[in-house]
Symmetry: C2
Subunit: 306 residues, 2 copies
């Protein structure tokens, strides 16, 4: 995202605590004099305020892209404090700092997990009820709600992106990375959580970035909220496991677990509507299956270079 913004001629200030990512991922963009970076925990309001003020005084900040969150859903389920701090308080603090400094435009990474488990009903943006089944989904919904109230009271415009399952590199978590790492340890067998029938759509990260920038440019509602996702009904975990085996360790056997949930709080199957985004004028070029194949190659390369 930073590369794409710099390519558009913007200046960018990045803030992250590297609790999931790493400095290595931004080594290249750090060479660009129009990019600055502060290692900071955004759940620490006073540190956040001080850092943002410094940049804002130098060179007025026109908008904030708040993409920081816990991305380890099971960790947030066993300890609610994880998503309170990393998923929710980072949003609360972002709004506090923006309000203080008079920054009026916010782009925000939300998630399909705000919808909870609607079984096979196609998830469009205005569906109800919203009953998340993970603390991650709950704290993203809480963040959306705060942003909505801020748009009513003082924020000029907000774009909310409800992410699907995203794959590609740099990969820090997720089924594909797990499978690749497991096969590096035990090349003959791959153990899969759940029975492999979980089916979800996957979007490649490059397309996710395209979609966010497109929505930011063209959506005109003061509170614009869009699903971003693949254009198909997705692929199964079994398909993903087979792709990783074929690319990383051909001939390995695959053992499946029981049940159709990888973990408590995992939504076993969902179908995502991207009609609203398509009506705005964007649709993904890659299907879920192609995105998975591409990501498998990239992740294997990433892991071989560690």
């Amino acid at each position: 995202m930073v590369q794409r913004m710099l390519a558009k001629g913007r200046k960018v200030v990045g803030m992250d605590n590297f609790c999931n990512g790493s400095r290595k991922n931004i080594e290249q963009v750090l060479q660009d004099p129009r990019f600055e970076f502060v290692e900071i925990d955004l759940s620490d309001l006073s540190a956040y305020r001080i850092a943002a003020e410094r940049f804002h005084i130098e060179d007025s900040i026109s908008e904030v892209w708040h993409l920081a969150a816990n991305s380890d859903i099971p960790a947030g389920i066993s300890d609610a404090n994880v998503d309170l701090r990393d998923t929710f308080m980072t949003t609360f603090n972002t709004l506090e700092v923006m309000k203080d400094l008079g920054i009026q435009h916010l782009a925000f990474a939300s998630t399909s997990a705000v919808y909870g488990d609607h079984k096979n009903i196609r998830l469009h943006e205005d569906i109800g009820p919203l009953l998340p089944i993970s603390n991650y989904g709950a704290m993203k919904l809480a963040s959306e709600a705060l942003i909505s109230a801020a748009v009513e009271a003082w924020l000029e415009q907000a774009w909310i992106f409800r992410f699907p399952n995203v794959i590609g590199v740099p990969a820090t978590h997720g089924a594909l990375l797990d499978f690749v790492r497991k096969l590096q340890e035990t090349p003959d067998n791959l153990n899969v959580l759940g029975n492999g029938t979980q089916q979800k759509g996957y979007l490649h990260v490059t397309e996710l970035i395209d979609a966010m920038l497109f929505i930011r440019e063209f959506a005109k509602d003061r509170l614009a909220y869009f699903n971003i996702g693949s254009d198909d009904d997705g692929v199964t975990v079994r398909f993903m496991a087979e792709q990783v085996v074929a690319a990383a360790s051909p001939g390995a056997t695959i053992s499946f677990g029981e049940g159709n949930k990888g973990w408590v709080g995992d939504v076993p199957r969902f179908v995502y509507s991207i009609e609203k985004l398509r009506a705005l004028g964007w649709q993904p070029a890659l299907g879920s299956a192609v995105a998975v194949k591409l990501a498998v190659r990239e992740i294997i390369e990433q892991e071989n270079c560690r």
Copy 2:
């Protein structure tokens, strides 16, 4: 509520910081040896945990009724920390304490404000999107979402009550109390915020308690969420002002402001569906107009006795 629970033969422990209520309101129930009270701020997790543990060890706590929240919506809009602390963190901490102590049943006071402004669409429980326009609504939605995730992970059963506008005594805030107090200061004229056309349903607090106890007893879903409200399209602010004038200061003139919102974040008009609650077997006996007339009498008496 405490009186009603004691009348059912339950033991009750109350916890509150009196930031909105007062000890005077519980003087009568404090006489009952089956009622104990701790003055505590529920947003302070360690104090909450210590107090709950003490009672739980003595006499196992079987369920929690979490009714504590900020009730001053404008205060929460000007400072987001108010609803973060009083509306949301009290819920977060309640779940943390319950999880620690193994308490498996939670009744929770939510609100119609989780729905945001759907104009004239009748608000049923499964409507979407949920885009609150106040921090109060946002932090109640956040609380519901956390409870939903807890039911998925460890909580056995939860009852969520989406409150309407509630009136009656003890009154600590709200339009009727404001009107009564204004007329005590200036008996000849009543100044009303907004143009008086705001229209909402009102429920008397005694009926709200009936409804909650009914839902608690009869709703069997693990996550049961119900609108509680009047059975009609409500009454206007103008009607309420006229009732207060007639009862408290007959002949006073009424001056209205501009616009149909009393304050930023106020939902100007909403119609509430209570079909789900009626299908379960409960409906209010009083209409909004009668509830208002009853509450006006009670509030005038309350204020005269201060």
